[in-house]
């Protein structure tokens, strides 16, 4: 083998190994490529509504969407619910919708809760926690603020107060 060939072979072998290195590093940094991220698209899903037809996230394109994951067993969710309802009333005519996703509970458990807080935004029932897994929900409440084009603008983990909700909602209103 002459010198030029040797160099080519070495470049090729080292190049392949470099590709392997880049790939290995990439996959160690991006641990979960399917996770929902700020700046990424909110994955579409469709769930049955409490007392209503199935609702798909894509049906709400063109509106700002506040996607709130909650459960009746979660104290901060209870405290947050009236604030969400209050701000929903203020913003719903400006092209904004609040969608509550209940995690894995029976309708008979959800309904009294919803009535108690006078919630009238759509409540979706994630009976098998499928969407909860899709959105990688850890602690609740977790709230996604989604722009009219479907882009996730903000993910908030924990209890929101009215001022925070109002501020975040105003950023996802349709122009």
């Amino acid at each position: 083998m002459n010198k030029t060939n040797r160099t080519y072979v070495r470049v090729a072998v080292l190049g392949l190994l470099l590709v392997a290195l880049v790939f290995a590093l990439y996959s160690s940094f991006v641990k979960d490529p399917n996770a929902v991220k700020v700046g990424g698209d909110a994955p579409n899903f469709s769930l049955e509504q409490l007392n209503g037809p199935e609702l798909a996230l894509d049906d709400l394109k063109g509106k700002g969407v506040v996607l709130n994951f909650w459960g009746t067993w979660c104290e901060p969710c209870k405290k947050e619910m009236p604030a969400l309802q209050e701000q929903y009333n203020k913003f719903k005519d400006k092209g904004l919708v609040v969608v509550g996703v209940n995690i894995g509970e029976a309708p008979v458990a959800v309904e009294p809760f919803v009535k108690q807080f006078g919630v009238d935004f759509p409540i979706l029932l994630d009976r098998q926690s499928q969407i909860t897994k899709l959105y990688r929900i850890g602690p609740i409440p977790t709230t996604f603020f989604i722009a009219p084009d479907g882009e996730v603008k903000e993910i908030f983990i924990g209890q929101l107060n009215e001022a925070m909700i109002a501020d975040k909602m105003s950023k996802i209103l349709p122009k």
């Binding site: 190994l17 798909a56 008979v108 499928q130």
Partner: protein, 542 residues
């Protein structure tokens, strides 16, 4: 000057220890026999020693060094050891839902060391960027070290040197020299040596005044074969990061329930769960079990469905059965690359409460059965003509809230509380009853309706581990190749015997890469058989 000339006239590349043509040691010092070059690479120049001018060659040469390889291995070993000092993230005993919780756990539990541990990524060692980098560097070193050595070795071994320089023969660990009587036919001596060695399984190379007998050359490729196996293994491990190649999920399925398997179009239904126990007769000896039992098998009878409506998650599924059968520990249900393992169970969990509604006023006359499915209670059910039962409130895991109102701690029916309303439409009677912790609270002390408890429905919940690992065949194949390499290198030896006649003397030398005892016996046998006038000396190398 990147070449050096041997006295035989052959020019060798820099780094050559034994002349490629005649085998004479090229360094002046090695005339001292104790310093004879290592035969490991046949005295060939390692390829990387040859050219060092371009930057690419410098990188190549760096990885070609065995010292560097050992260094990388030691660093990996030390890092792996350090990774066992505190638990890895997946074994943290308390829930840590967010990254901040993980960081806090290490700091709170282990102090400053914990902070450092977390900061350096030891909590997720195998996927930390620097550990992954080390593994790829090890792979690089494996490839380059092997290439750099196997090619010159192959070249050297495929052109056996016959007329070796005397100092090459003298440098071997087994060497003998003796005067030949003048009447000895030298050609015949070589012929009979060749024949004797051939019978021992040697392959003979013959020149006019020399023979070289060789066997087990292929064992020299063993280390390179096992390096190929290791590289395949590493590629397999790396391939797990390609989307769709690797999945490891866990789902809980109740008897009778059909659940979606995350990230796949499949749904799985548990028809029945069953634990089998060893019977007394099956046990080999009397065991002091004190009434205890030993499980024999854990089995879920399952049906696997594929969802034709899988594009939109959560949408009402359109299920088609693909497979039906038992899932037993170590006997997963397989569907293509998908394997579903039995890997956990919660037995005898509350599934539904059963009551019989009675009319207290009519001497506890039975009106009809009520079933409250704790996972999906019906909002309203008709028990008997005109008598309806409605669920007003349901708290699956009851707790009295701080505000004095009933609440639930989780969404699992661990401690159910149900508020029922019983309505008799014919008499327009309405009564409320509350079930809690095995008792019934009534609204009125002299109410008409009462509940009689029946045995609740107890269900088993199967924990199923769902895995895809497309890299497994490659990983096993790599391990298999590795094993072949080890066997090649360990159980065979590369033995060579040289016999030369030079001006009235006979020279005998032998070399093996291991098992000198076996070689010595063969050489002694040869000397004895041919009555060679030599004494074999075995040198110990300094």
């Amino acid at each position: 000057m990147d070449q050096r000339k041997c006295e035989c006239g052959h020019t060798n590349p820099v780094g050559t220890l034994l002349c490629e043509s005649c085998g004479k040691p090229l360094n002046v010092e090695v005339y001292e026999q104790t310093a004879f070059p290592d035969m490991r690479y046949e005295g060939m120049a390692r390829r990387s020693q040859t050219y060092t001018k371009k930057w690419i060659d410098r990188i190549w040469n760096y990885f070609s060094s065995v010292k560097i390889a050992i260094g990388i291995i030691i660093v990996i070993l030390v890092a792996s050891a350090v990774g066992t000092i505190f638990p890895q993230q997946q074994y943290i005993p308390v829930p840590v839902p967010t990254e901040a919780d993980v960081a806090r756990f290490y700091t709170d539990t282990y102090g400053v060391l914990g902070t450092v541990y977390y900061g350096l990524g030891f909590h997720n060692l195998y996927s930390s960027w620097w550990f992954v980098t080390l593994l790829v560097l090890l792979g690089t070193s494996l490839v380059i070290c092997s290439l750099d050595r196997v090619i010159p070795l192959y070249k050297a071994l495929s052109k056996p040197r016959l007329n070796q320089h005397k100092s090459f023969l003298k440098g071997q660990k087994l060497f003998a020299e003796g005067e030949l009587a003048p009447d000895v036919d030298q050609a015949e001596l070589l012929d009979s040596s060749a024949l004797a060695l051939k019978k021992k399984g040697y392959r003979i190379f013959r020149a006019e005044r020399a023979i070289m007998a060789e066997k087990g050359r292929f064992s020299r490729w063993g280390p390179y074969v096992n390096h190929i196996g290791l590289i395949l293994f590493l590629i397999g491990v790396l391939m797990r990061n390609i989307p769709g190649f690797y999945m490891d999920e866990f789902v809980w399925v109740r008897e009778g329930q059909t659940v979606a398997i995350p990230d796949t179009p499949y749904y799985i239904k548990s028809e029945n769960y069953h634990t089998e126990y060893w019977s007394e007769e099956e046990m080999p000896a009397k065991l002091e079990l004190n009434g205890g039992v030993i499980p024999k098998s854990f089995q879920t009878d399952a049906i696997l469905y594929v969802n034709k409506n899988a594009e939109v998650p959560g949408k009402k599924p359109d299920l088609i059965e693909v497979q039906k059968g038992p899932i037993i520990v170590n006997h997963p249900m397989m569907e293509g690359d998908l394997a579903i393992y039995q890997s956990g169970v919660q037995e005898m969990q509350l599934g539904a409460l059963n009551f019989v509604l009675v009319d207290v006023k009519q001497g506890n006359k039975e009106l009809g059965p009520i079933k409250i499915d704790l996972y999906n209670p019906a909002a309203e059910q008709e028990i008997a003509a005109g008598i309806k039962v409605r669920v007003l409130d349901y708290f699956p895991d009851f707790v009295m809230g701080k505000d004095g109102k009933p609440a639930t701690q989780t969404n699992l029916p661990k401690n159910p509380m149900v508020a029922l309303e019983i309505a008799d439409e014919s008499t327009n009677q309405n009564e409320k009853l509350v079930y809690l912790q095995g008792s019934v609270l009534t609204q009125k002390s002299d109410g008409r309706f009462g509940l009689v408890f029946k045995k609740p429905d107890l269900i088993d919940i199967s924990g199923l581990n769902v895995r895809i690992d497309k890299a497994v065949p490659l990983i096993y194949f790599g391990a298999f190749i590795f094993m072949i390499g080890v066997v090649m290198g360990f159980f065979w030896q590369h033995r060579r015997v040289w016999v030369q006649t030079q001006e009235g003397t006979v020279l005998l030398a032998a070399h093996t890469n291991k098992n000198w005892f076996g070689l010595r016996r063969e050489v002694d046998g040869l000397v004895e058989q041919l009555k060679l006038p030599v004494t074999v000396e075995e040198k110990t190398k300094a």
